[in-house]
């Protein structure tokens, strides 16, 4: 149609300068020392923090799994509602997403504190007080709370495409609840599952706010480490860049894994 390739030029220049170049700089810093000489020391040093990396991966994976389990029924039930109701419910799911995520995490701080509401209520029946905040459990809870809508929506979208008659056909052929789940619903919602996993795992593995606010200083995640190298006390750009590089690789692996399940014809996904 309109043959004006040159219109994309400003964007291409911008992209090269502010998206690609910065990433190249990160790689550069990751592979050099403070004097500018090539070194692999930074990457080696990361080995010292393997517990942190392991913790991030495990917590993020646990949170993703919990989100998946919780969100799956929600996505299914939502997709079976009448269309007018679906719209409203979709809005209700998205509303918390649009609330500032710092405030949402902060909300849990007040709930989970030693003198917080939950402990008070439990105290009324003689339980507790439990040490809830500043634990890895709190971090996982924070992740699940923040990212649950990001799992619900793709699942819901994928399931709206599953016609009810398919489920009924399975029932007609003798499938009980369990079989319907494993043989019909899960296979047909795989694209939604893939998207949901990506949209939860990636932010979860790279967050530093949730771990800081709900995990205290003892549950550091990769994000915390990186932040410390750049704006915090540790101040080591090279190490921070190396960590960022490793994080990017982790994310890339996750995405190429899930995109192999994604059937949708998105023009230009890895």
């Amino acid at each position: 149609m309109v043959q004006k390739k040159s219109l994309a030029a400003p964007y291409l220049v911008w992209m090269a300068a502010f998206i690609i170049a910065p990433l190249i700089i990160v790689v550069y810093f990751a592979l050099t020392d403070s004097a500018g000489n090539f070194t692999l020391d930074n990457l080696m040093t990361i080995g010292r923090y393997s517990t942190v990396f392991a913790r991030s991966l495990i917590l993020a994976a646990v949170a993703t799994a919990i989100c998946l389990v919780l969100a799956f029924p929600v996505g299914y039930f939502l997709s079976r509602l009448r269309t007018s109701k679906q719209h409203i419910m979709q809005m209700l799911v998205m509303l918390p997403m649009w609330m500032n995520f710092l405030l949402r995490t902060y909300a849990w701080m007040s709930l989970l504190e030693k003198n917080g509401i939950i402990n008070r209520i439990l105290g009324l029946v003689g339980l507790g007080p439990f040490e809830m905040i500043n634990t890895s459990g709190a971090v996982v809870l924070g992740m699940v709370y923040n990212y649950l809508p990001y799992m619900i929506l793709p699942l819901y979208t994928a399931m709206t495409k599953i016609d009810q008659s398919v489920v009924e056909a399975a029932q007609d052929l003798g499938a009980g609840m369990g079989k319907i789940l494993t043989r019909v619903l899960i296979p047909l919602s795989v694209p939604g599952i893939a998207t949901g996993i990506t949209m939860v795992f990636v932010p979860a593995v790279s967050t530093f706010i949730i771990s800081r606010m709900l995990g205290g200083g003892s549950n550091l995640l990769i994000g915390d480490l990186i932040e410390l190298q750049f704006l915090g006390n540790s101040y080591n750009y090279n190490l921070g860049s190396a960590m960022s590089l490793v994080l990017m690789v982790i994310v890339l692996l996750c995405m190429s894994f899930t995109s192999s399940f994604d059937e949708e014809d998105m023009e230009g996904v890895v």
């Binding site: 149609m1 309109v2 043959q3 004006k4 390739k5 219109l7 994309a8 030029a9 400003p10 964007y11 291409l12 911008w14 992209m15 502010f18 998206i19 690609i20 910065p22 990433l23 700089i25 990160v26 810093f29 919780l70 929600v74 039930f77 719209h87 209700l92 998205m94 509303l95 918390p96 649009w98 609330m99 500032n100 995520f101 710092l102 405030l103 949402r104 902060y106 909300a107 701080m109 007040s110 709930l111 504190e113 917080g116 509401i117 008070r120 649950l148 809508p149 609840m177 932010p203 790279s206 706010i209 606010m213 994000g223 704006l231 860049s241 960022s244 994080l247 230009g268 996904v269 890895v270």
Partner: protein, 282 residues
């Protein structure tokens, strides 16, 4: 399982999930009216925290900055992004695929990496500027760019891809014959684009603009690394939560919730009105 019981179970589950999502927000709201600063004991009802919020200059300045940055960056992003979408659509398949893949980077990259990489870029630039100025013996190259320029650059960088991915599908759906009809009736290509193609793209461009504003106002992580000494609203909120002192945060949270609720209800109302009007036309 009986149909009745199944229904009840369904509803119970949904109620549980939605409570999980909303209870923390509700608790925040309740305690925004709390007399004391306690976050767990409700002593009395007051609107003081709301009042003090409106005189909190840190919050107000931060809000002004966030809004300004959102508007400016959204505007620039929408223009650049729309131009890019048009340009990309005229390209060959291989170029298009490459550019689309690269454009996905800011969207799929963890925000911390985008933030850190931009910060490194700006630091490197600052170093270069210092060296250049020292070399020339005068302060010709702007050096201290951390602040408004860096924030704007950062926000535009993560917004433009959303514009491209919003406008491109609409562009693909466009009937080529309409553009040809405009040429046929006497428009040169530029006129045809502005008189016929743009009006069709407008809904996508507008929604892209709104998306940019939303993401910009809400952004914390990327702004955190590129703001220098300035404070956007999320950054101000962050420093408030670090101090953990005042229920002003609760008040702010409640206000934000109500604003978002209002916007959602409003757009929903507009959408259903448009839907009903379209149905009537038949």
């Amino acid at each position: 399982m009986k149909q009745k019981h199944w229904r009840a179970l369904q509803q119970a589950y949904m109620v549980l999930i939605f409570s999980f999502l909303y209870v923390p927000i509700a608790v925040m709201a309740v305690f925004s009216f709390n007399e004391s600063k306690s976050r767990s004991v409700f002593t009395g009802f007051t609107l003081n925290w709301y009042k003090s919020l409106f005189t909190n200059s840190m919050i107000l300045d931060a809000l002004a900055l966030s809004v300004a940055i959102a508007l400016i960056s959204a505007l620039i992003s929408t223009v650049v992004g729309t131009m890019a979408a048009v340009g990309i659509s005229s390209m060959g398949r291989k170029s298009r695929l490459l550019i689309n893949n690269l454009s996905y980077l800011p969207i799929v990259n963890p925000e911390i990496i985008t933030g850190v990489s931009l910060m490194l870029l700006f630091v490197a630039y600052r170093g270069f500027a210092a060296w250049a100025n020292a070399h020339m013996g005068a302060d010709l190259v702007p050096q201290n760019i951390f602040g408004l320029p860096t924030l704007l650059i950062a926000h535009i960088s993560f917004s433009v891809p959303y514009v491209i991915f919003n406008v491109s599908p609409k562009l693909r759906q466009l009937d080529v014959r309409m553009y040809e009809a405009a040429l046929d009736l006497g428009c040169n290509p530029t006129q045809a684009f502005f008189k016929v193609v743009m009006p069709e793209l407008m809904p996508a461009i507008l929604s892209a603009f709104l998306i940019c504003i939303t993401y910009s106002i809400d952004d914390f992580i990327i702004s955190y690394f590129t703001c220098g000494n300035l404070q956007t609203l999320p950054i101000a909120i962050y420093s408030m939560t670090r101090k953990k002192v005042s229920p002003e945060i609760n008040a702010l949270s409640t206000i934000i919730f109500l604003v978002i609720l209002a916007i959602i209800l409003f757009t929903n109302h507009m959408d259903s009105r448009k839907y009903r009007r379209d149905q009537q036309r038949g």
